[in-house]
């Protein structure tokens, strides 16, 4: 599968084998390439399993379909959360870390054997947790709040998975050190690697919190620890659970920059601003555990306000900055490419038929408009009362982690396949449609769940008709309508997801080999994709299109924010 074009080692210490990519000129370590492939394949497998479970959940919550019986619903929902949020995303992130270190820096990967051990641990842990879920006595949701208890191997699987991931992160750091020591690159690390570094640093904090809380919980499930305080559990668990979402953000923002560079030759407007924005993530996101405790007893209002806002919204500021610098970099690049008419020729004439580009752009827009705005509103101390634990919450995070992260990773796959697997993407016509299909579905489920939650529909709930309840009452009919529309959107998202899996697996197995001959890419790279060019926006400092887009975004944000305060001011008085 891998051809070794150039086989040499920079230093005697490194007996690594390299090839030179004929599309980008990058020097690729074969050991790193294999590890990236393994992690990417595992990611896609867990996405397939978890995504299918998502469809089953959505079809059950579609009142007219109500597919699964209640026990199965809660079981499958637990499996859905674990497989997609943890296993799919983290396997893919490990692949990104190896890519951003070894490949982008043209270095050998540090200690490939240990990296394989990490991979094996992650696979073993993920399988163990899945086994526990399917045995049926661990339907505790992936958050597993005590005193509700799962089987010991449910927690043990998660712990083993986290240890594996932590080792993978360690390999990333070690590879940076190797690259630096062996001088495989000049000057500073690329922006994308810098973003990945941000993600990795956050990951250390996150995985440590995970261990701190899951190890005692596991011992508790074995009967060795008498009690786990439910409030303390939530504080520490979300130190992992929420911060790990910032890993996703750092990773997918890096992916946006990378795809911008690969498809249209985009460069950061200024390295300084983009890097500072990443830095803000590291400095301030540890605080975000509070997002999940705003409606809980026991914390002071001061603690809630300071923490939920990441100390005055400084981590949000990071994302807002990327919200301008990413489209700004795209616009500047397109204007350099000759699309200079009006405010939006650069956008109209963008490579919309290239699934990497379209997926990236949809991810950028939906992450900002849907996931981002709803996240800040949901994380506002008092506004949280209106939506806490309603299905608005899954609505919000399908906007971040599905329409944002997952779609960005899917888009990236269209370059991982040719550049790392060295297979040309098959079924280009279908591939062209895939991001639109999945994006539409993912945006749909996010918005409809948010709508239903605004009308009071609870999350993780099998029967909103409440017919079997002791004191039945009616939830608003609008909520039922929204859950029906959510079911429809879920079918569209699932279609897009299945298409993604088929294209990916098909390409890996049957795609035209690119390591032999001179065949061009179906979805070409920009001619400057990897050549070093002047950084920054040169003369193209006028970015009218970006300014308009960002203004529309900002106005929507402010408007939606105040609409929710208005809504809050109309409910019962509470103090």
């Amino acid at each position: 599968m891998t051809a070794i074009d150039v086989s040499h080692s920079g230093l005697a210490a490194a007996r690594a084998a390299f090839r030179t990519c004929r599309f980008t000129g990058l020097k690729v370590d074969i050991a790193a390439q294999r590890l990236i492939m393994a992690n990417a394949v595992a990611a896609v497998v867990f996405l397939a399993v978890g995504g299918l479970m998502g469809l089953l959940v959505a079809l059950t919550r579609w009142p007219a379909v109500h597919l699964l019986p209640s026990e199965w619903f809660y079981l499958v929902l637990t499996g859905h959360g674990a497989n997609v949020l943890l296993f799919w995303i983290i396997f893919f992130e490990i692949a990104i870390l190896y890519f951003a270190s070894a490949v982008l820096l043209g270095s050998r990967i540090a200690t490939p054997k240990i990296a394989w051990a990490a991979f094996v641990l992650m696979v073993a842990g993920a399988i163990m947790t899945n086994v526990a879920v399917f045995q049926g006595d661990s339907s505790v949701m992936f958050t597993s709040y005590p005193p509700m208890q799962a089987s010991p191997h449910f927690y043990l699987g998660l712990i083993i998975f986290a240890v594996g991931a932590l080792i993978g992160v360690g390999i990333f750091f070690a590879t940076l050190v190797v690259a630096h020591g062996e001088r495989t690159y000049e000057g500073s690390i690329p922006l994308v690697t810098f973003g990945a570094l941000t993600a990795a640093i956050i990951a250390v904090f996150t995985l440590a919190s995970g261990a701190i809380i899951l190890v005692p919980t596991w011992l508790w499930s074995l009967g060795l620890v008498a009690e786990i305080d439910p409030l303390m559990y939530k504080v520490v668990w979300w130190g992992m659970g929420h911060s790990s979402q910032q890993i996703n953000v750092a990773a997918h923002v890096s992916v946006w920059y990378a795809i911008g560079a690969l498809t249209i030759g985009a460069k950061p407007l200024s390295e300084k601003v983009s890097r500072t924005a990443f830095l803000l993530y590291i400095l301030f996101l540890q605080l975000a555990s509070a997002h999940h405790l705003l409606a809980d007893p026991g914390m002071s209002a001061t603690w809630k306000i300071v923490n939920t806002s990441y100390l005055m919204y400084l981590a949000v500021l990071g994302s807002l900055i990327h919200g301008l610098t990413v489209p700004g970099a795209l616009e500047a690049a397109q204007r350099r490419n000759g699309y200079t008419k009006g405010a939006f020729e650069w956008l109209r004439k963008a490579p919309w038929g290239n699934p990497a580009f379209s997926g990236m752009f949809l991810s950028l827009v939906m992450f900002g408009f849907i996931g981002g705005i709803s996240g800040v509103v949901l994380g506002t101390e008092q506004l949280n009362l209106l939506m806490h634990n309603t299905i608005y919450v899954p609505g919000h995070f399908h906007g971040t982690v599905v329409a944002g992260t997952t779609l960005a990773f899917m888009a990236m796959t269209y370059y991982v396949l040719p550049l790392i697997f060295q297979r040309d993407v098959i079924w280009p016509k279908l591939a062209r449609w895939q991001p639109y299909l999945f994006g539409m579905g993912a945006g749909g489920i996010s918005l409809f769940m948010m709508g239903a939650g605004t009308l009071g529909v609870p999350r993780r709930h099998w029967d909103i008709t409440l017919t079997d309840a002791m004191h039945p009452f009616d939830l608003p009919s609008g909520g039922f309508l929204m859950m029906g529309l959510n079911g429809l959107a879920a079918v569209i998202a699932a279609a897009g997801g299945i298409l993604y899996i088929l294209i990916t697996v098909g390409t890996v197995l049957w795609g035209k080999r690119l390591d032999k001959g001179e065949a061009p890419l179906t979805f070409p790279l920009h001619k400057q994709a990897a050549t070093v060019a002047e950084y920054g926006s040169h003369a193209t400092v006028k970015l009218p299109g970006t300014i308009i887009l960002v203004s529309v975004f900002f106005l929507s944000f402010v408007l939606y924010y105040f609409v929710n305060w208005k809504y809050l001011s109309e409910i019962w008085l509470l103090r």
């Binding site: 690329p190 500021l317 634990n389 605004t454 999350r459 993780r460 409440l466 009452f473 920054g536 400092v541």
Partner: protein, 177 residues
Amino acid sequence: MAISPPQNRLWWNEPIERVEIGWVVVAFLWGLFMFFFMIAWHFIGGQNLSTETYRITPAAYEQKVATFAEKYQVSEESGVPVVRPPVGEDVFILARLWEWWPLLELKKGQSYRIHLSSIDWQHGFSLQPVNINISVHPGYEQIITLTPTEAGDFGIACNEYCGIGHHMMTGRIRVVE
């Protein structure tokens, strides 16, 4: 290029584009505004979640709620007491698998100190269609002062997953003029 090292090694000395600076300032100020607005709402707003919380054992809480229900019970519905506490009296709601107990009757426009705690797992107090949502933990007794502003029947659902009967867990507050 974002995937290759910055060409200018001294990238931290580059000038920053005007639009970037402008947006950073706007975004920063907006963050500050949102931060201070949360604080301000504690003074100008009528909806702030109290943080008054005490530790309590489930058994002790169960006892308190039972005493309260017995004292002010006015009738019974499907075996569950309907309780009408006098205005100003402390009101107790108990969460357990799988009900909110007991049923309550409150007066519109009057304030009540409502105590919330669970005697088993975590539950989610979700008052509908008002849409007030509060987490309820075992071992912690939270007290909120609630003033109903409309009359009618209001359901309480559970929106924290609490096992196989989660979707059957309900309760009710009736508000009378």
